[in-house]
């Protein structure tokens, strides 16, 4: 059967690669999808076996540029549990603050990108401008806008001064007001409703069967959130709620992410106001005892699982990283079967893939055997030009 190579819809026309998957199509309808991850495969897991614990944390951070703190914390807390270290509460609170700030910047990023896909560039500019407030806070606390490098085995690298806490708290009211505005927009704004409703619908049973995680699963009514199921860092002390929705489509996922933004602001405020005094790290031994651990963490995109095995030396024997995007891929593949090719960008963007994407499509129609090349802009135009009067069930 002739195969169609599809590059999946970018976050911005400027972004290219690295995800690619083959779409086997019959006319406009999709039959099957096959993923190809080799564009971005860097061999991090093998490299981690050759670096000791101090050197491997920056490597773990750079697995992904958007959820860098997630990977580094998941690894650090796994190693700390194997070493049976008791992390001081102040360090847990600082890690939680950075984690929730990262979640906020990631959800705002996604909101802008999703708005760009449907042509709502104003919202793209607004959300990314508000995101700068989060980046400023992170830069004050850690020194870098991305890749904060706050973690060490045994705690946190640097402390929060009272001035930083005050400055961060001062930024929160404005951010909260903007987030509330986005919540209203998602509930009432005409543009988003029509474009997102009914697209990429996943029922609760399907979401369970395909193993979806994160906001994609929570939008289908499954309250699976590692912060509540297996509490880590300071989440057991902070009052917060798991956000779920019942729509199951891209609109539902938008609502979940925007409500999670609200929750994150509350968590950050609570942690900043109630941060306990004390040391920020404990000395960690050089070698880790023999052991094995499955360290789970709720990254902005879903559940991140690091399976770590140590063998008594100062390096890991194996670290197996399962990113949430890979877990959600099965649902995308199943969801796109029998859909139109034009639906691809939004459905893939709705799982918030932590991969930047490409912009060209080679289309091979199995029926007419004609080949053509489409740019991603054409695909977006095709998507936007669909009849907006269609009523979705």
């Amino acid at each position: 059967m002739p195969e169609v190579v599809v590059s999946i819809g970018p976050h911005h026309p400027a972004l290219k690669e690295p995800v690619n998957f083959k779409v086997i199509a019959d006319g406009e309808k999709i039959i099957r999808l096959e993923l190809d991850l080799s564009y971005n495969h860097r061999g991090v897991e093998k490299a981690a076996e050759q670096r000791d614990f101090i050197r491997v944390l920056p490597l773990m951070e750079r697995v992904c540029g958007i959820c860098s703190h997630s990977h580094s914390t998941a690894f650090a807390k796994g190693i700390e549990e194997i070493m049976q270290l008791e992390i001081p509460p102040r360090a847990q609170y600082i890690r939680t603050i950075i984690a929730e700030l990262e979640r906020m910047h990631s959800h705002l990023l996604w909101l802008g990108v999703a708005a760009h896909l449907i042509g709502f560039n104003t919202l793209f500019m607004w959300t990314w401008r508000d995101r700068e407030a989060v980046q400023d806070t992170l830069e004050e606390m850690s020194g870098n806008r991305v890749h904060y490098n706050m973690n060490e085995i045994g705690g946190v690298r640097s402390d929060l001064t009272p001035a930083q806490v005050t400055a961060a708290l001062a930024r929160l009211p404005n951010l909260e007001e903007r987030v509330n505005k986005y919540v209203d927009m998602v509930n009432y704004e005409e543009t988003m409703l029509i474009r997102f409703r009914g697209v990429g619908k996943l029922s609760k049973e399907e979401a369970l069967r395909y193993g979806t995680v994160g906001p994609t699963a929570r939008a289908s009514g499954i309250d699976y959130d590692v912060r509540k199921d297996d509490p880590y860092l300071a989440y057991a002390d902070v009052p917060w709620t798991v956000v779920t929705d019942t729509h199951g489509d891209v609109y539902g996922r938008t609502r979940v992410r925007v409500w999670e933004l609200q929750e994150s602001v509350k968590i950050v405020r609570f942690c900043l106001e109630n941060i306990p005094e004390g040391p920020i790290r404990v000395p960690a031994p050089k070698n880790a005892p023999k052991g094995e651990i499955l360290s789970r963490y709720e990254a902005p995109r879903g559940e991140l699982a690091h399976f770590i095995r140590t063998n008594g030396t100062d390096k890991v024997e194996r670290v197996d990283i399962r990113t949430p995007t890979l877990a959600n891929w099965t649902s995308v593949a199943m969801c796109l079967v029998n859909q139109n090719i034009a639906d691809i960008p939004v459905i893939v963007a709705a799982i918030d893939p932590c991969l930047s994407c490409t912009s060209r499509i080679t289309l091979l129609d199995t029926r007419t055997k004609k080949e053509g090349i489409m740019s991603f802009d054409d695909l977006i135009r095709r998507y936007r030009s669909r009849n907006p009067e269609r009523v979705w069930p």
């Binding site: 096959e34 993923l35 190809d36 991850l37 080799s38 495969h41 061999g43 897991e45 093998k46 369970l208 069967r209 395909y210 193993g211 699976y224 199921d229 297996d230 094995e292 651990i293 499955l294 789970r296 559940e303 699982a305 399976f307 095995r309 024997e317 194996r318 197996d320 399962r322 890979l326 877990a327 891929w329 099965t330 199943m334």
Partner: protein
């Protein structure tokens, strides 16, 4: 099932399938053989509701290749099912028929470790580029890159 599910109940019932031990306050580990993995997973799914696959991890411990299947369910407990496979011709039947997300993890493990999964819908390359030679499995402990082999990149130029 009467009363809330506890780890001891799970461990007790799963004794027939292999060695069970509680490794963490919410995780138990079952060590079993490659032939019984399929039945073990089906049993924990049906009896205790472990219906979500977290991930399938593969480890090379220099003697054998190990596979660990991690499952969880609405009761929020985690069960890890571990098997060992021999280094030459490692093969274990696929579980993607009962757990659809397993298909993609098995493809990745096949690419990087060389474990074969008979019954898998399509074990194509996923993480290594198309020029990567066959039978070279980078994540195995005894693999070293051969300076004369072409692993990918620009043909005709040495990388």
């Amino acid at each position: 099932m009467t009363g809330p599910l506890t780890l001891d109940m799970v461990a007790g019932k799963m004794k027939d399938f292999g060695v069970t031990e509680q490794v963490r306050r919410n995780r138990i580990r079952i060590t079993t053989t490659p032939d019984t993995v399929h039945d073990t997973i089906r049993t924990v799914q049906a009896m205790f509701g472990f219906d979500r696959l977290i991930t399938i991890s593969a480890v090379d411990n220099s003697r054998t290749l190990e596979l660990v299947y991690h499952l969880t369910g609405p009761h929020r407990m985690v069960v890890s099912i571990a098997v060992e496979l021999p280094r030459d011709l490692p093969a274990i039947s696929t579980v993607s028929d009962i757990l659809p997300p397993a298909a993609i993890y098995e493809r990745q493990i096949h690419d990087l470790f060389g474990i074969v999964f008979p019954g898998h819908p399509g074990l194509a390359r996923i993480v290594l580029n198309e020029d990567w030679p066959d039978n070279e499995y980078p994540l195995r402990k005894d693999w070293k890159p051969n300076p004369d082999t072409f692993y990918g990149g620009i043909k005709g130029e040495k990388i």
